[in-house]
Symmetry: C2
Subunit: 297 residues, 2 copies
């Protein structure tokens, strides 16, 4: 029996950066606020809480304390309010997300009807649409598009969507507008993780996808993997049921961009333990068969 | 047995305009030159020749005479040369083609790698690419694309291509570039003719497509029609073979955007004659069952 990890798994550049910025800030300040969790991983957020980083959901709870902007970014209006209220801002927005926000503003100022491919309830998209001047159209899939023709359309995407969904949307829009400007804001890291998940899922009997149940990119990895093989989406090793592993010869694991290494290692070791293969246990993610470290940034 | 014409057939706005401009100029001048045929219909070009409009292929043959710019446009360098040589220019370029030339120039000046969907040997495309600053990539289909990734890509199309080909090209390019700007320069008249050809072909036993063998949009109609039913592409009524019509119950006809009405009428009447149905013959295209006049311009 083999257990392998998808070549590219776990923390991406933007998440690593957000954690680094947050922990460094926590060393300097007694208590820091984040408007919503810094990243979409409850276990990591809990660890940050132990360092004095408190996640709140309402602006009124800031009460003058230094405030971290989460990796997904926040709404333009909230940024303005923080400045106005003279709050110290620790900006952990992923630079790729910031870039997408700039495109949103620019396209709308240039007279394009902005269409965002994304989940309208996701914080990244909520923040993104606030940068559009005028009304943005948000679609999770091409069939969400309203009827009718457009003049000039500008498309941007939540950084964690599937490239196939962007292609599908663009294909449908070509005959329906005079000009279509597509900025491919899907993060390369996202598509690289999706591609290596597909590769591993194709050669596995079972896939374990590790990451926050609230993590968009992790959920997407699970959805993609399910197309090829039986897949379980877990947050921690404790969720693994020994029964899942019975009669499985090739087990694949993968992890979202916000899943910390230590959780991946725990999951890997737990699987080995379940199948009675303790001697192969590892202490770092780099030692799991199949893993390849990325050059980021 | 029925003979029907596709709802939208024959002369488009740009062709009507080019003929009008040319004939009006011919009334004022003793002899006029066109650089290549004004439109892609040999019979119509012959008629214009009788009015003193002489089609030449080489610039050196102009010899100071007033020169018509054909509906497909000419290269930027030739335009400059005509101005420099003080030649009277009678510009019959289709306004939609002129607009596409402007986009070609603008996109390349804005730093986009221009990709033209079209036939690289077609005069419209030869003229179009001359407006691109730098090197344009010309593809007849998405598989013609060179390998590799692009930064900023601007796509324009020969006005007579199929929208499906533009969609296919765009779909392939989305993951291969950071920014994709698509100007849908496919003429509405072209797609309307294609759609009504498909509709008629689906309900016919035989299709006759009328138009110049050198007409891009007519050839495209024939190619599309062939997907549904046995199809013949002819230029004039004289090509019709009585045998084609044997045991056919529903005959459909359609005509390219450069096919004059009188040829369509001749074809229709010839078909009726072949099947012994002379009493239904018509004198104008508007009287052929199925025809609908367009509001153009």
């Amino acid at each position: 029996m083999s257990v392998k990890i998808a070549k590219y798994s776990g923390f991406c550049f933007g998440v690593k950066r957000a954690i680094k910025i947050s922990t460094e800030a926590a060393m300097k300040n007694h208590e820091i606020i984040t408007l919503g969790p810094v990243i979409h991983n409850p276990q990591m957020v809990e660890k940050l809480a132990q360092k004095g980083i408190k996640s709140i959901s309402d602006y009124s709870e800031i009460k003058g304390r230094p405030t971290i902007i989460r990796s997904h970014g926040v709404e333009k209006g909230i940024m303005a309010k923080l400045h106005r209220d003279n709050i110290e801002i620790i900006n952990a927005t992923c630079p790729y997300v910031s870039k997408t926000q700039e495109y949103a503003l620019q396209l709308s100022q240039d007279g394009y009807q902005v269409i965002i491919l994304g989940d309208k309830t996701h914080p990244e998209v909520i923040a993104l649409k606030s940068y559009v001047e005028g009304e943005a159209i948000i679609v999770a899939k091409s069939s969400d598009l309203p009827e009718g023709k457009f003049n000039k359309v500008g498309i941007i995407s939540q950084t964690t969507r599937r490239i196939e969904d962007l292609q599908g949307l663009v294909k449908i829009l070509v005959p329906r507008c005079e000009e279509l400007r597509v900025i491919n804001t899907i993060c390369n890291v996202t598509s690289v993780r999706q591609d290596s998940t597909i590769k591993l899922a194709k050669e596995s009997d079972l896939m374990i996808v590790i990451g926050g149940k609230n993590s968009s990119n992790t959920k997407m990895l699970a959805r993609i993997s399910e197309n090829f093989v039986k897949t379980f989406h877990i947050e921690t090793a404790s969720e693994i049921d020994k029964k899942w592993l019975q009669h499985k010869d090739k087990i694949g694991i993968t992890a979202g961009a916000s899943t910390p290494d230590w959780i991946i290692v725990e999951v890997y070791n737990k699987i080995l333990k379940c199948v009675g293969n303790i001697e192969k246990q590892v202490s770092k993610v780099e030692d799991i068969p199949g893993f390849k470290e990325e050059k980021n940034g």
